[in-house]
Symmetry: C2
Subunit: 343 residues, 2 copies
Amino acid sequence: MSDSPNDAPQPMTIIELAKELGMSRSTVSRAFHEHAVINRETREKILKRANELGFQPNPLARGLITKSTRIVGLVVSDITNPFYPEVMTKLTERLQAEGFHVMLVVANATRSEEEAVRVLLSYRTDIVVMLATTLSSAGAAACRAAGTPVLFFNRYSTEGQSHAVTCDNELGGRVVADCLIDLGHRRLGFIAGKPDASTNVDRRNGFLTRCRERGIDVVAESNGVTFSYEAGGIGARQLLSRPDRPTALFCANDILAVAAVDVAQREFGLKVPDDVSVVGFDDIGIASWPSHALTTVRQPIPTMIDLTADLTLALARGTAREPAIIRLPGTLIERSTTKGPRS
Amino acid sequence: MSDSPNDAPQPMTIIELAKELGMSRSTVSRAFHEHAVINRETREKILKRANELGFQPNPLARGLITKSTRIVGLVVSDITNPFYPEVMTKLTERLQAEGFHVMLVVANATRSEEEAVRVLLSYRTDIVVMLATTLSSAGAAACRAAGTPVLFFNRYSTEGQSHAVTCDNELGGRVVADCLIDLGHRRLGFIAGKPDASTNVDRRNGFLTRCRERGIDVVAESNGVTFSYEAGGIGARQLLSRPDRPTALFCANDILAVAAVDVAQREFGLKVPDDVSVVGFDDIGIASWPSHALTTVRQPIPTMIDLTADLTLALARGTAREPAIIRLPGTLIERSTTKGPRS
DNA sequence: CTGAAAGCGCTTACAG
DNA sequence: CTGAAAGCGCTTACAG
């Protein structure tokens, strides 16, 4: 048997530290609070000794009484997209630096987003931030009922009652439409990702709307399933085997786009971009690799993360303003998978 | 101002629920504990009402008294490797299913692994599991001092006092050496990743040792920095520009290998595998994409995750056996980047 | 500026 | 099988 929770040495408590210092535990406690009234020297003495003895206030006990756990709940679901890990870690780093910590919970088929939120709520997290899950808002509703603020990343709530920071996906879709049409393309295709993901929905909407506005309505669509490489291949096969084959494909994200390029070249013997142009979305690291050189829309990830961290902190501290959806524009990055059509 | 922590509706407490039911809070409390002695019907009645009212025992209060928070600390650092996200989410899912939850903390330049562990310790997590960080063991030492069990994933402690589950990286390196030598290669190269990562160290050792055993000592090495695509390119340039250019490259992971292939083809005009063979390690999703078709060593990720979850649970519950390092063999997957040398 | 005391929401011997 | 009471490690009015 290795160490069990029972035979573990008990960490020092504030009582012991107080005894050590010959002070009351009230005084010692105050030393750990920025705004508490306490003599300068007393505080210093306490902090010094605490440090020597390795004492750290127990955040559980503190949270019990202050009703603030300084923990932020992070719910995550589909993370096939390589930029979520980056978001998770960067966001966590920022929050850590401010003395907050994150409890991670993943929603999936067996544990719904709502259940995921429920455990977070039971832990009394100060706030929950949701990373791009589906559009369902049961989780958000549960938070609202509990009075816990919610923040959406890369998605927004349908009710618009919550804060959100996201790339302007609709605008991104429009920009891609303009790019392709300006290049001379007239038969366009859209390869869908997860159908109910707001990223998918908005990118598609922007794209289709703009096409219509410019008088192009020959737009073929694939049935979306997920954002995976396999799904991209399936979508590409659907569109490329049509008699009126599109000359340009807009894919709901980069992974799908890479798969589409592979299928076009290997299965249909098409040259990219000569026979068919392909555009992705996100600008993940892979997109810039010479072997892919994908034209795509870059999300302003660093800015998005910063804003998310700022908002999270404000919300957790109760100093946030009215709920708002912050939409940041993406940037079209033209690489080697786009070009005018043959003819 | 939106909801602040202060104006939030207070969640129901056990006292209120007890009052509701006309019972003592002791009895109500017992209903929530598997092994507590309590009348069957009483328990059912309590659980039913609790469910109706949405009552959930406050885990903070519970943790304060039981000394068991049911939270597992997860420390993560370099996550450029695409399989870490998978590990994080899958592991979290398993733990969730068993009623445990994970607190995520990231170690980096500004927050050392030891500091990261310290915050976990302050939250009294039942266990901390470390995802492939560097070899430093300051964090593990801090845990041991606090009596908190530690589990390493894809790395092991130099002192061998902790549990660990990892791919047999050394064996993997040997297997690659055998494969390449059997193919007829005699001038080999190793492209290093993060120098002090145990994955890097072990893969290299296995590779070099096996080469030496088989009488091949013409092995060139690049200076490693990280496991990134850029680093792979730099390493490849180092090795491929040597006068005695290696005919086969073993890269410490798949990302490096993809970069090496790109550099070989684009910058040196070499054909892969005709002019130079390239082998990676991990078998990340990208490796199997037709556009890369990388020969690599597949880590048994699902098994590794399952074992890690089992061990984590056992450790958290204090039912684990003696510390042991579990090393799982990988599988060589031969795809299109390996072949015998020209000559 | 400091201390004694009450209390946060639970669990668990101890009686009954 | 159930209840009254003590206590987990803190914070924070309230006095002094």
